[in-house]
Symmetry: C2
Subunit: 255 residues, 2 copies
Amino acid sequence: MNIKIIVEYDGTHYCGWQNQNNGLAVQMAIEQAIARVEGHRVPLHGAGRTDAGVHALGMCANFHPQVAIPPEKWALVLNTHLPDDIRVVASCAAEEDFHARFDAVGKHYRYTMFYRNIASALDSRRSWHIYGPMDVAHMQRQARLLEGTHDFVGFVASGGKKNATVKTIYRSTLTCCGDYWYYDVWGNGFLYNMVRIIAGTLVDMGKGKLPGVTMEDVITAKHRLSAGMTAPAQGLCLMEVFYDKDALLRSCAEE
Amino acid sequence: MNIKIIVEYDGTHYCGWQNQNNGLAVQMAIEQAIARVEGHRVPLHGAGRTDAGVHALGMCANFHPQVAIPPEKWALVLNTHLPDDIRVVASCAAEEDFHARFDAVGKHYRYTMFYRNIASALDSRRSWHIYGPMDVAHMQRQARLLEGTHDFVGFVASGGKKNATVKTIYRSTLTCCGDYWYYDVWGNGFLYNMVRIIAGTLVDMGKGKLPGVTMEDVITAKHRLSAGMTAPAQGLCLMEVFYDKDALLRSCAEE
């Protein structure tokens, strides 16, 4: 049996999705929950990594259990063994050869900014506090310039892998709802720290810290130093993983 | 000088607004911040109490400092002495006889419910997790029946004071936004636990636990036992305190 799960988590207290040597990973917490049911470790395949402090509303993962539990019951069973800040929101049977990472055709990430002189008392774990004069119309225009198929090597963290850096961004928009500014991006793949570097670059552009530089210039320069700062982890949230391109394109069109 | 401040706080780690003997109160945290500036304790007058775990986006308070700081600078000054989960979002000069509690003409509270089979991994500190079959249209109709001037003694916690229980509710609505259900209420005053008892009663009604009972019946019965359960504190948020009735009525009409 191959079980597909959709996972929601508050990344604040985790070292990220993937198992590492420095702290508890979300993946490990779920593998431990599965082991409580199976009696032994069963590898869990996630759709991708998220950094320490990054959240998810729609991470997707799969695993092959031996215990005969109805597929849709796995969500409830795993939640009884998980901490409150990780919830399996759905589970179902997948094709035997389904793989959450290899079969993904795209993802939707949201980066949340809180724009006010004074920080938020309630949402500091979920957003990046930004302030000061900000040219939001300029930021919104620059966000759209990322759409299309480009080499995004200039948006990779210095330590990140530099292969397969050509990606397609289907939609890239900045929306303002009161004090909350949402940068939403749908793409067929994302490089290490790419969304956080885009968000940081947009804010640097909004503040006038990159005078005369456009997103097209950063793409053309193909160098990390041409982009802006890396926005902090807590503003980022993996919203959805897509396994069907039509569903991805519908999601872009809806927002 | 009389300084009026607007305060935002995450109530999770506090014993409520008002100073008590069992843990840190938000009022005390702010009085300590004022004392750091003034060199001695200055009483802070809040617009009302909030229970342990209840949040605020728009608590209002006032105090009479002696130190000569421009009124609008007090927000920044106090924030440097406050924990991250309490923020003074604005400060200004008030009339010398302004009193945050006695001069208030109304308040807007929001009670947030999260309606999904599986709890939220990210918003459990800010909402009440409800699930199961729920007649939301019935709940929405019942919410509106509270509007008007009534004796709300049936909605007071058993230990609460029973004087001045006639209050006017200007607007009382339940709105559904995906998994989030918001009960919003504007009134000229609220009794102890009143909004949480209304929210709990609405949910009990939605679940069919109070068959045939309407909000009008609960008002008429004038007894706590006729109402439903008390909803938990973490879903409640004080949104705004009004000192002008026109502003209150405009706020009701906008939502």
